[in-house]
């Protein structure tokens, strides 16, 4: 008898970054640390923009390529063109 189940945290082992065909590239010079990309990311893998701090105290946005599936929403919502989607190279 096998009961199909998963223990807590087991999804961290399932790295979904390999599903990506396009990759977001973050340009720290254009990033204004508004945090829109971080709020919109469906995988919750963009971090760095500490929303509870003042803008000048925040760091720039960065993504975790282990889990980023390359959906491109961050690039679409960025008002400053700081994120570019580029083809993933094999």
């Amino acid at each position: 008898m096998i009961i199909p189940h998963a223990k807590v945290g087991s999804s961290l082992k399932n790295k979904t970054g390999g599903w990506r065909s396009q990759k977001p590239i973050f340009n720290p010079e254009l990033c204004k640390k508004c945090g829109l990309c971080q709020l919109h990311c469906p995988e919750n893998c963009i971090s760095g923009v500490e929303m509870d701090k003042k803008v000048e105290e925040r760091s720039v946005a960065k993504t975790d390529y282990d889990f980023c599936k390359g959906c491109g929403i961050c690039a679409k919502v960025c008002p400053f063109g700081a994120i570019k989607m580029v083809e993933e190279e094999k």
């Binding site: 008898m1 096998i2 009961i3 199909p4 189940h5 998963a6 223990k7 807590v8």
Partner: protein, 379 residues
């Protein structure tokens, strides 16, 4: 044990209540409405801990799957379109290995719309991994309720016990309903090894890649097939405690010892077949009946053994496989794949949508079958 003269459904509801379910979730539907109604009354009287009034059957089964995953004994009752609406979660329940129990008031499927008895609603779920037990009368259904919980919790597979709509659910008879104290001795508390628990968090049911999915299905298949032993064992144990048995728990033979012509069937129509067998036996015909009680797991070996000496066999079923060979017929034929010899096996589909199968009809079937020729008919 108290003797009561009530409607079958209410006695079945009382038997379910006496198994002390933690959670009941129902959406009443003909012909099992009165089981849901009876359980709701027990909840109103404070005898059942939780009764969820859902907005439709998909929610009922989802609620009891959740309740069972969290370690509760959970039960529902439904029929026909209700069971069809549950279909998606029926498979999920077996795949998740949650031991829920459902009382099915058998009823025809639409269209045309029909509220009367046939087995197609539950037969349509036969491939899901659920254990299915078909009861001949309401007393058997009452006795099967505690057995269903025990079997389910032992093999960690859901169980439906099927009761012919109206013929059994709505007939008033005198029943013996086992009390809560007596059932407690037979049915231990439900205590699953793995459940949803904040102290030891897990996700149940989850997601399986192509590398693993088939393995889970194969595991359910193996355990479901092996549960034949448990169904029999639990039935025997119940018989010892309460003094009522139904064949060997898997199949029941009626005057089979020297029978050359045997009708195979399930559920309430077997009462009429027994009468017909008696009548024809008086005229010297060597006829008999084999009633299948456990439809899933199917007792292939027992069926082949019981029918081995027959000259001709006919399978009477209130279910169908339109455009193919009918389900019970296929299973009976399947019982003989390893045998060198087999009797002539014929197929009869009858009693659909409440069409009466009378004692005289059954006599007619037995006489037709005694001619020894193969036939496939709709009676």
């Amino acid at each position: 044990m108290v003797k009561k003269t009530v409607e079958g459904s209410f006695a079945i509801a009382e038997a379910i209540k006496n198994c002390e379910p933690d959670v009941v979730a129902c959406y009443p539907i003909t012909s099992s409405s009165h089981i849901a109604e009876g359980l709701a009354q027990f909840y109103a009287d404070g005898e059942i801990k939780e009764y969820i009034r859902t907005e439709q059957e998909f929610s009922s089964i989802s609620a009891i799957v959740g309740a069972s995953a969290a370690g509760s004994r959970a039960v529902s009752a439904t029929s026909s379109q209700g069971l069809a609406l549950m279909h998606e979660v029926v498979y999920a329940a077996a795949g998740m290995r949650v031991p829920i129990v459902m009382a099915i008031g058998n009823r025809a499927l639409s269209a045309p719309l029909n509220i009367w008895d046939d087995w197609q609603d539950s037969i349509a779920e036969r491939d899901s991994g659920w254990i299915q037990i078909y009861c001949e009368n309401a007393q058997e259904a009452i006795d099967t309720a505690p057995q269903a919980f025990k079997i389910a919790e032992k093999v960690m597979l859901p169980v439906m016990f099927c009761i012919d709509g109206f013929y059994i659910t709505h007939s008033v008879e005198t029943f013996e309903v086992p009390g809560m104290e007596e059932i407690r001795k037979f049915l231990p508390k439900f205590n699953p090894k793995l459940k949803l628990d904040p102290k030891n968090p897990v996700s149940l049911g989850v997601y399986a890649m192509p590398t693993h999915y088939q393995m889970f299905r194969e595991d359910v298949h193996r355990d479901a097939a092996a549960s034949l032993k448990v169904v029999k064992q639990v039935h025997d144990q119940y018989g010892k405690t309460f003094g009522r048995t139904y064949g060997d728990g898997l199949v029941e033979g009626y005057k089979l010892k020297d029978a050359r012509f045997i009708l195979v069937s399930m559920a309430s129509v077997c009462g009429n077949i027994k009468e017909a067998v008696d009548a024809l036996r008086q005229k010297g015909m060597k006829v008999g009946l084999l009633r299948i009680r456990s439809y899933r797991p199917f007792p292939y070996g027992q069926v082949a053994k019981a029918l081995a000496k027959a000259k001709a066999v006919a399978v009477l079923e209130k279910s169908y496989n339109l455009g193919g060979k009918h389900p019970l017929y296929s299973d009976v034929i399947g019982s003989f794949v390893d045998e060198k010899k087999r009797p002539v096996i014929s197929s009869i589909v009858g009693g659909l949508g409440g069409k009466d199968v009378t004692v005289r009809d059954c006599e007619g079937m037995l006489k037709k079958l005694a001619k020894g020729k193969h036939f496939e008919v709709w009676w």
